[in-house]
């Protein structure tokens, strides 16, 4: 580290700037940079519609499909997993999410790998901080 001074440090700085710029170009061309992940998703079904589809999938026993729709509903209306909100889906839902995670980890439920990811998202959201 002691050798990293003067022109060597300048050269390293310039190389890192070039790398960061190249990475920025890659990110910009590979995704919509202004994509908003959770708020203002105007297209597609509403949160209520997704909740209905989630419940219907649950009745059919399709946990993967149910979790996809719960996730979409939460993206559109995060308050449904806020335990202090009147819109909260309820303590039963809380227990259900925990059970799904536990069962998916043990392999007790047959579901696609994405199901555990979606259930984990619901958990992080439900107990989450300010993100």
């Amino acid at each position: 580290m002691d050798r990293l001074t003067g022109k060597r440090l300048t050269a390293l700085g310039v190389v890192l700037i070039a790398l960061a710029a190249a990475a920025a170009v890659f990110v910009a061309v590979s995704a919509d940079p202004l994509e908003v992940r959770e708020a203002g998703l105007p297209d597609g079904p509403s949160a209520d519609e997704h909740l209905s589809r989630a419940r219907a999938a649950e009745i059919k026993g399709d946990v993967t499909e149910a979790l996809v729709h719960y996730r979409e509903a939460v993206m559109r209306r995060p308050r449904i997993v806020d335990r202090r909100s009147p819109e909260f889906l309820g303590a039963d839902f809380e227990v259900k999410v925990r059970t799904w995670i536990s069962e998916l980890r043990k392999g007790g439920i047959s579901a696609a790998p994405a199901a555990l990811r979606d259930a984990s998202f619901l958990f992080r959201r439900m107990y989450g901080g300010c993100g």
Binding site: T10, A20, R37, F123, Y127, G129
Partner: protein, 356 residues
């Protein structure tokens, strides 16, 4: 003894006691209603305050955080009573403004400031720990630039009234908030706006500000001093913060080692590392993390005030442009903000060597 710890904390023991108290109060605020791992998070609080001041429209992240206003007032009174309130500035305020903005954006991509990185790690969060490692790496990298002569023009003394503006605004906002006026954006029911009781938060904020001013508590600063000067006294405060928060979380049953189930976090460890590395690097170059900038601004440092103004603007942009991360992941705009921050700070680091 009390005077040694609270008025002139210099020894590792005194700084560790204050750091431990910081950690205990921060965890206490979470128990009383603040969001998970957010007993003290300068960047999250700035986003909340920006929302309350109608600078963004996301009600779930809008709340005029009494902690933040308390930090300003506590630091101001501590500096004033110890005759350390001195208004100074003129050391590249524009660079501090833009630098402050990028630091805040980096924090929002990670989801939390360096202090929250400690709290998230103390809760068992894998992404929190990745961010903390990134922060330390960024600080160590910045130390190379400091060793090679990085600096700004020396600050000059400026008229005292300028330094009173921020404490005065904080006092007025805190007073107005205590009156329950409808001046501020309605506090939405939302995880980001969850909070401890108003008076408790305000008192805790005043403690954070006063103790922060006396102890110079700064996560990034303590790592820098350890790396550059092999002086571990400030580090004792940071380690004590982490240790007390960890012990309390274990005692309260809130310690859950996990990557995928960390409350309110995303699971992208690489971007958590990279974002906090940028925060650590930039914070050293502009002399402080978001909490430290708030404390410095309250004691009359107008360059830090410029950084705070930049952070407030960035807090608004973070929500409006979808830069901030969420449990769903890191947004492309957030990745671009981190890379742009790296380019800005690297350029500044290369350009400002020998400028002091």
């Amino acid at each position: 003894m009390i005077r040694k710890v609270f008025a002139y904390p210099e020894s590792a023991g005194a700084l560790a006691v204050l750091g431990g108290l910081f950690g205990a109060v921060a965890v206490g605020l979470t128990v009383l209603g603040n969001p998970a791992s957010s007993g003290l998070c300068a960047s999250c609080f700035l986003v909340n305050v920006a929302g309350a001041l109608h600078m963004h429209a996301k009600s779930s992240q809008s709340y005029l955080r009494p902690e933040l206003l308390g930090i300003v007032l506590g630091a101001f009174f501590a500096a004033f009573s110890s005759r350390e309130f001195r208004v100074r500035g003129g050391s590249s305020p524009a660079l501090h403004f833009v630098g402050g903005a990028f630091i805040l954006l980096g924090c929002e991509v990670f989801i939390g400031c360096p202090i929250k990185a400690l709290l998230r790690t103390a809760g068992g969060g894998g992404a929190g720990a990745a961010g903390l490692l990134g922060l330390a790496a960024g600080v160590a990298f910045a130390a190379i630039f400091l060793r090679d002569g990085f600096g700004f023009r020396e600050k000059t003394t400026i008229p005292e009234t300028a330094g009173l503006a921020l404490p005065a605004i904080a006092f007025l906002l805190l007073f107005a908030a205590s009156m329950n006026t409808d001046l501020f954006a309605a506090t939405g029911i939302g995880v980001g706006a969850n909070h401890a009781p108003f008076v408790v938060s305000a008192v805790a904020g005043i403690f954070f500000g006063a103790a922060g001013q006396r102890s110079r508590f700064c996560v990034t600063g303590s790592i820098k001093t350890a790396v550059l000067a092999r002086d571990f006294r400030e580090g004792a405060g940071t380690v004590a913060f982490l240790a007390v928060a960890l012990l309390l979380n274990v005692a309260l049953g809130n310690f859950h080692p996990t990557v995928t189930l960390e409350p309110g976090a995303h699971t992208d460890l690489a971007w958590a590392f990279l974002a906090m590395a940028m925060v650590g690097f930039g914070a050293i170059l502009i002399s402080g993390c978001p909490f430290r900038q708030l404390v410095l601004a309250s004691t009359g440092d107008m360059d830090a005030a410029a950084a705070v103004a930049g952070m407030l603007l960035a807090a608004s942009l973070s929500v409006t442009l979808g830069i901030g991360s969420s449990p769903a992941g890191v947004a492309p705009a957030g990745k671009l903000a981190v890379l742009a921050g790296w380019i800005f700070f690297l350029g500044m680091g290369v350009r400002q060597r020998g400028a002091a």
